[in-house]
């Protein structure tokens, strides 16, 4: 037996899949954000996150005029590169796209049946596609439980008259690797 044979092989290398929930989004903005990630090899992984939000505070701010959008959903495919080459803890960088949508409000001038003008709040939907990048750090407990910190930003590209200009992808994820 040589020295190399004595190093235990990490089980993480054989566990190619991970599901994850973002607890930061859940607590901070009542947003459910679930992720599936597939580890292709030691350097690359791909995945997709889906989130749905329905926050009373955001809805109230929207109705009272303190914001003009309510982000409702986001579907975010991503590809990650392991910067540290480690298995049990490592830094990573990612590129992502984000299909996102929600409600938008604007004040418009209308004319009633008596040909008198008035201003009113008009609500409509928006949907957009953002591209962005992020960095993060991940470590595993007992080679199963993954803890992940992520910071990233993206810019919407299409319906920018209505959609938010910038999307943040910031999270504290707890995952299960299998």
């Amino acid at each position: 037996m040589n020295a190399q044979d004595s190093i235990p092989v990490s089980k993480l290398a054989d566990r190619k899949n991970e599901v994850r929930i973002d607890v930061l989004s859940l607590i901070a903005s009542s947003k459910v954000n679930l992720t599936y990630e597939r580890f292709l090899n030691r350097s690359f992984s791909v995945g997709v996150s889906g989130s749905f939000a329905n926050s009373d505070k955001v809805n109230d701010d929207f109705d009272s005029g303190n914001r003009n959008t309510i982000p409702k959903y986001e579907i975010t495919p991503f590809v990650r590169y392991n910067l540290s080459k480690g298995n049990s803890s490592f830094y990573f960088a990612e590129l992502f796209a984000c299909a996102n949508g929600g409600d938008f409000r604007q004040t418009v001038r209308l004319t009633d049946a008596n040909n008198v003008g008035y201003y009113a709040i008009q609500k409509s939907d928006y949907s957009d596609l953002a591209l962005g990048a992020g960095v993060g750090y991940k470590f595993y407990i007992k080679e199963r439980l993954g803890i992940e910190f992520l910071v990233g930003f993206g810019a919407n590209l299409i319906d920018t008259d209505k959609s938010p200009d910038i999307l943040s992808r910031v999270g504290l994820g707890i995952g299960y690797r299998f």
């Binding site: 003009n68 001038r109 201003y119 200009d165």
Partner: protein, 182 residues
């Protein structure tokens, strides 16, 4: 994702700003004597206003659901070179229509909606009990120096209408200057 931000999220979206001249006027006189009254008047402006650059009138009541519009003003008396002192009119504040409330810093005026006439009504005066140089100013709680800023008293997520009402009686500093003689 934990949040979305936008330059479109950096303001209050229930505000509307318009400029409509002479909604509040000063009933000026060529000269003033002690015990004369300086009157301010909303001229009972209608719920239907002519809006610049629009072909139809604007229904401000339908826009705001507001039963009143408010603005502030103050009267100062000259007590020295470039020194002015706030005049608190007390019992010399006369309210004929609408409402006016004296505070330690200004007078809060309210143009009240009259459903019968479909007008916002305000007329209030200050009895001038002392001779001297005075100036009336609408600049407290106000950005504009040459306009009276009226704001609808809106509730329940209705739109707030902010009307900058220019007044030709005001000088470049936003004052109406006058002298009260014995």
């Amino acid at each position: 994702m934990a949040g979305d931000c936008s330059n479109k999220d950096s303001e209050f979206y229930n505000d509307i700003y318009l400029t409509i001249p002479e909604l509040v006027t000063i009933e000026t006189h060529n000269s003033y004597a002690v015990n004369d009254v300086l009157w301010l008047n909303s001229d009972n402006f209608s719920r239907y206003l002519t809006e610049p650059n629009q072909t139809t009138q604007l229904d401000v009541l339908k826009t705001t659901n507001a039963q009143s519009f408010s603005f502030t003003y103050l009267l100062e008396k000259k007590v020295g070179t470039d020194t002015w002192e706030l005049v608190l009119p007390g019992n010399n504040l006369i309210i004929e229509r609408g409402n006016a409330v004296e505070t330690d810093l200004f007078i809060a005026a309210t143009c009240l909606y009259n459903a019968n006439t479909e007008e916002y009504e305000f007329r209030s005066g200050i009895r001038l009990t002392q001779p001297g140089e005075y100036r009336l100013n609408f600049g407290y709680n106000s950005v504009s120096t040459t306009a009276v800023e009226l704001r609808s008293d809106s509730f329940n997520n209705n739109l707030f209408l902010n009307i900058n009402s220019t007044n030709t009686e005001l000088d470049g500093s936003g004052n109406y200057n006058f002298t009260v003689s014995e």
